[in-house]
Amino acid sequence: MKRKLVLRFPAAVVEYPFIYTLAKEYNIVANILKADINPRKEGRMVVELSADEKSYQRGVDFLQSRGVIVLPLEQQIVWVEDRCTQCGACTVICPSGALWMQRPEMTVAFDGEKCVVCEHCLKACPARAVEARYLSGV
C-alpha cells in the first residue's frame, strides 16, 4: 500500500535520520515529495510511504513515539470557499490540478485528493483563501 502523509518534526528531533530508519528497520520506502528541514528548527515533510499494512503501522508508531506528528495528506490544504473571490489566479499555479476552473461556468473548485501540498497556492492566492492546516497548528 502507498499513503501520502505530512510529517512535522519538532526541533528537538529534526536531525534524527528518520527516513533511513524507516527503510532499514521497518522496510518502508519513503518517497519525499517536499521537505522543509533546517537545523534546530521545526521541520516538515510531505512523503509517500510504501509498505505492507503491518510495517506501515509499525513505522508510523515509531515516528509518533519519537514525537513526529503524522498527518494524512488529504485535508491538510483547505480551500475556504467563502473567502475565495473566484479570481482563478491559482488555477495556472497549481501543478496538480487540485485547484481548477470549471468551464464554461468559470467557477473555481478544489479537489483535495489531487493536492500534493506543494504550497504554491498559499501565497499565490491574492485573497488568502487557501490555508495549510499543519501551519496553523494541528
Partner: protein, 398 residues
Amino acid sequence: MGKLRSYAEINEKISKGQAVVVTAEEIIAMVAEHGPEETAKRVDVVTTGTFGPMCSSGAFFNLGHPKPRMKMSKVWLNRVNAYAGLAAVDVFLGATEIPDTDPANQNFPGAFNYGGAHVIEDLVAGKEVRLEAESYGTDCYPRQKLETTIRLSDINEAYLFNPRNCYQNYNVAVNLSDRTLYTYMGILKPNLCNANYSSAGQLSPLMNDPDYRTIGIGTRLFLGGGVGYVAWYGTQHSPCGPRDERGVPRTPAGTLALIGDLKQMQAKWLRGVSYLGYGVTLQVGVGIPIPILDVETLIGTAVRDEDIVAPVVDYSEDYPQATGRTLGEVTYAELKSGKITVLDREVRTAPLSSYPKAREIAETLKMWIQKGQFTLTEPVARIPASDSGVRLKSLAVK
C-alpha cells in the same frame, strides 16, 4: 436611428415594476433569436458587471474631532498611512498603501499581507480599526497625539472614491523570460507558461457601451454592493486607440472614476487582496445599467466574447520597458476556453477578474431595477469619446 424610449419613460416603467431588464449575457441569446430591432423594442435595460482588482481605489473619511480638537497631519489606520493633507480630520486612504513596517519586496517576492484595501474591507465588514494620529498642534487644534479604535459607524462621512475603475479592455500578460515574474497581473511563470487576463469581457460595463453613449458623468451604478455614481472619466482614460468595426476597443481604453457611500457597501464586493511580489489592491465589484434608448445602444450590449479582442503583452520586457510591442491578439472566448496560442505555443489562461461574480453583480442590479429600487440617471455630461482626440501621454524624463 429612431429613438425607442427616454430615461423618463424607462424610470416610469421601473417604478411600476414593469421594466424589462436582462443581463449583458442574456441579451446575446435574445438578439441571436429575435434580431436587434425586435429585441430593442422588448428590452428596457441591460445590466453589466465586473469584479476585479482595481488598484486606483480608495476612500475619504471624516474622522470627527476628538476633545481637545486636532489638526491631524499624520494618520494611520491599522498602521496603514492615510493621506491627511486636507482639512483637520479629513483623510484619504489609498487601496495600495502598505504599513511603513512592511518589508515590501526586500524579501522577494514580498507577501503584502495587509494594506489600505484590507482596511477598507475591514471597516465595511464592521470591524474595529486602530486609529493613530499625530499633529504639530495649533491654537485652534491643540491636540498632538491620538490613539483609539474606530468603526465605520463612528465615522462621519465615509465614501469610496476610485480614480480609475472599470478598464475597458486590458492586456493579456505573458512572460517570455526564463524567470518567474510577480506582477499586478499575478504570477507569470517563465517561458510562456501562463497568460493572465483581467476583464469580464461581454459582461464588462464599458464593453457594452463602447463609445460611452449612456455611461457618463452622473450615471448611477452598483458599487461595492451599494449605490455609487460615475464622478468623472477615470485616470488614463484613453478613448482614441484602435477599435474594431463595431467600435469596441482592441487595447486598454476607457476608464471611470467612481464614487459612492461606503456605509452602504458590503465587504463581499470590496475585497483587500495581496499580489505576491507586487502589492496590495482592492477587488471591486461594479455593475452599470445601460438604458436601451435605441437599436444602436442595444447592438452595443449584444457584444460577445468571441467579438472582443485583447492584446497579448510580454511583461518581462515589452511592458516594463514600454516598447509598445504586442505578441498578437486573442478573443475573450479563446481566453475563457482556458488555452490560447501565443508564438505558436499553447498557453494556459487565468482570469484574475471573476466572471461568475461579474454575472452575480449583473443579476443583482437587474433584480434591484426589476423591484423598482434602482432607477436610471441620464448623464449630466458625456465623458470623452472616440472622437475627442484625448490621448494618453507618457512621462518625459528631463
